[in-house]
Amino acid sequence: MFDMILFELRDIVGKEYVSIREADREVYSVDYFWLPEMCHDRQDRSNITRPMADFIVHPADAEEVSKILRIANNYKIHVTAWGGGSGSQGGALPVFGGIIVDTKRMDKIYNIDEKSMTVEVGTGIIHDILESELKQRGFSTMHDPGSARCATVGGFIAHRGTGVLSTKYGKIEDMIVNMEVVLPTGDIIRTLTVPKTACGPDLNQIFVGAEGTLGIVTKVTLTIHRLPEKRAFRAFVFKDLETGLRVGRRLVAENLQPSVIRLYSEDETKEVIKKVLGIEKNGAYMVYGFDGNNEMVDLQLKYAYAIAMEEGGEDLGPDLGAQWYENRYKFFFPPYMYRLPQLFGTLDTVASYSDIQNVYNAMKDVVEKKYPMARFIGHFSHWFPWGAMLYGRFIIDTPPDDPHEAIHLHNSIWNDGLRAAMAAGGVLNEHHGIGLKLSRLTPELYGNAFQVLRNIKTTLDPNSIMNPGKLGFGL
């Protein structure tokens, strides 16, 4: 049957776009999730294996995706979508084998509509390539994540991604105008031409964040913006995190419309800011930024400065703020990024302003008390009218040698950290997604409401072929 299915897949996309090669199966078994990376890293001293796909397929368009899914339904083969493979949650891992649908051939820029300020693209486009093309014309999506150089637009949609400028421009779900989606059955649909309607539930939002469990998004129309005349920053240090959180909240609540607010806990200020930017200060480091028309930005900066000074901030000036922005990707590369053999994770969550400090304290408390070998740092990078996102991190420099022990420890910290967050008013995740990593906790997060997601899944994917083991859906 292997050869028969292989033939059918080749018949759809062409022989050169179906791989069963060992090299591909190996490389497609490791995304940016710590767990498969650790397994790969320790292959010289352990026998732990990683699940691999049976087939890797590169379709050119929605019609080919549709045919692939019809075959998968016919033979009950699992299908996992893979964009950039840069997700940290294991969302693109083929944990039960089957077919990987690599979306990167669907990488065209179809239309830049300067009147409507939108761009239509294939979801397999690497985001940095899209941004480079838009920049040549004086535009940007203003979606600026650290993964821009390796992630696809489809990946952002799958896990509800965000970027550095989200406080002003929103998360990816705020940027979607319409989408083309291939349902698990192979049917191709388009959502409504525009998003802000009174025509029933927003179909876009059913698929955004579904992590490939409800179908594969093949095209998307996104909003774009003119490149701003000015983008300027300023850096401050506040005496403590509580003060920094209050400043951030005021910057948003007083309608100053910052594009960036980045606040680091005292610990992260000491550990990361010093390492990456060379700034050594006690307290909570903050950068804020504004962009737009020259005069508007100057006015916004003026009001923001007044707030910061009123709250007792130590002004580090505009240059250090700009330096942070210029080096914003540097944090994601080795040696600044935590890396194997360390055991680490980003316990990102989001909560209301009333709860967020408690969420931070609760996570920090449980990680540091229950896991004394771990340290906890955090920063707040995405701000909303109602709350803020916490980028909490735990790091263990020397995890257990035995990979199974290491996985158990890894999962335990995640469980404890996120249960503490949920108990204090937070949620499982803000923009990295659920994937494999947090799948087991998803029914717990939603409680009785999980049945809504479960019923949608059952209806759209009756054979349960799409991305099994993720988002709490099991097999």
């Binding site: 090669r21 090299a23 591909d24 490389v27 940016y32 010289d44 950039g84 840069s86 150089r149 194997l340």
Partner: protein, 372 residues
């Protein structure tokens, strides 16, 4: 082969973040994860740390690498002690060859070089240098295979410039290969033998300066030969560096050209030898020229496939797209002329655009003020 400390450093330095993906030309062609710098580092990790034997698809991925070094330019993880994927790939290829595992396509290229002194397998009698009258001279012009076998007009342009300057120069009859291509494919010993043979021919000319059209030959003479014990004791210049010298000395005067000209940087001249400024100064020396930069230039240049040896002309169908990536950026920069620094770049870019695509020697020769 026992892996060296240096190559192990690169394997350890790659920590799975796929931030190099967007820069890789072979991934752009094939879309495969195994055809990314990160993918290759992972595969070689499995071989050299995990003890897996080289198997066919891993070998394929290793030979698909363009060795362009784009990943080095974009990886900000250099501080971990050397993320040098091109050198790692070259080491792995030597190991693959040593184990007798080179693919047939690679063996065919090797055989072509050994027999005909070029990767195309074209008989030497059809080369530009087949009819050259070799003589002792202080300046030797080496063409490289791309010019010698496919773009004689580049050699014609440059020799006209040399004549105009009154330079006492020679070419080598039936110019031998530098061995660079063999080394890039993993045949280090044979490359060194070719290097020795070329050096002997060079020495017979008594030249003190070699001027080179081909970036791979340039890189070999500058960086490989000294390490291989076949160092040329004199001066090695790329054509662009020679042109800058003769322009600055006044030996060459240039007529005005009111156009917008952009430079397609060379991977082997630029990334591996930091030759970025000389070609730009040559272009800018033409009165009236406006030098415009493409969006991706210097160390962030886009690859034209100078060392994409296993992507033959047929397989480079999508390589045409690589050329188009460059010509599209030239159009966006409002250039009317793209100046290139290698025959490979000319071949891959010219087929994708109506813009004028010329080697730097052709560009200068077209604007020389002659005594007539």
């Amino acid at each position: 082969m026992k892996i060296t400390e240096k190559e192990l450093n690169t394997i350890h330095a790659c920590r799975y973040c796929p931030m190099c993906r967007h820069s890789c030309p072979s991934e752009f062609i094939n879309y495969r994860e195994s055809d990314t710098p990160r993918g290759r580092a992972m595969l070689l990790y499995s071989v050299y740390k995990g003890g897996k034997p080289f198997e066919a698809s891993t070998i394929d991925a290793i030979y698909n690498c363009f060795l362009c070094g784009a990943c080095k330019s974009w990886c900000e993880g250099q501080e971990l002690g050397g993320y040098d994927i091109p050198e790692l790939i070259k080491f792995a290829r030597r190991d693959i060859v040593a184990q007798g595992l080179a693919p047939q396509s690679v063996i065919a290229i090797r055989n072509a070089v050994l027999q005909h002194d070029n990767t195309f397998g074209i008989d030497k009698s059809l080369s530009y240098t087949a009819t050259v009258q070799e003589k002792p001279a202080p300046v030797l012009y080496l063409l490289g295979e791309g010019v010698n076998f496919r773009y004689p007009e580049i050699a014609q342009a440059f020799t006209q410039i040399l004549d105009h300057c009154g330079e006492n120069y020679t070419l080598l009859k039936d110019e031998p290969t530098s061995g660079k291509e063999l080394d890039l494919l993993g045949y280090r010993q044979e490359a060194q033998e070719k290097a020795m043979a070329l050096l002997k021919r060079i020495q017979l000319t008594g030249c003190t300066t070699i001027v080179v059209s081909d970036p791979l030959t340039y890189d070999a003479l500058k960086n490989d030969y000294p390490v291989w014990g076949t160092a040329f004791e004199g001066e090695v210049l790329h054509v662009s560096e020679y042109l800058l010298r003769v322009i600055q000395s006044g030996a060459v005067r240039l007529s005005p050209y009111r156009g917008k000209v952009t430079l397609a940087d060379s991977e082997f001249l630029g990334r591996f030898n930091k030759v970025y400024d000389a070609p730009r100064e040559v272009i800018a020396a033409v009165p009236g020229v406006e030098v415009v930069e493409m969006q991706w230039n210097r160390e962030y240049m886009q690859s034209a496939g100078e060392a994409a040896l296993t992507f033959d002309d047929r397989a480079f169908d999508r390589g045409k797209d690589l050329g188009e990536k460059i010509s599209t950026k030239a159009v966006e920069a409002h250039a009317d002329t793209i100046v290139v620094l290698s025959a490979t770049a000319k071949q891959h870019i010219a087929m994708t655009t109506d813009l004028s695509v010329v080697d730097i020697a052709e560009f200068v020769n077209a604007h020389i003020v002659t005594n007539n």
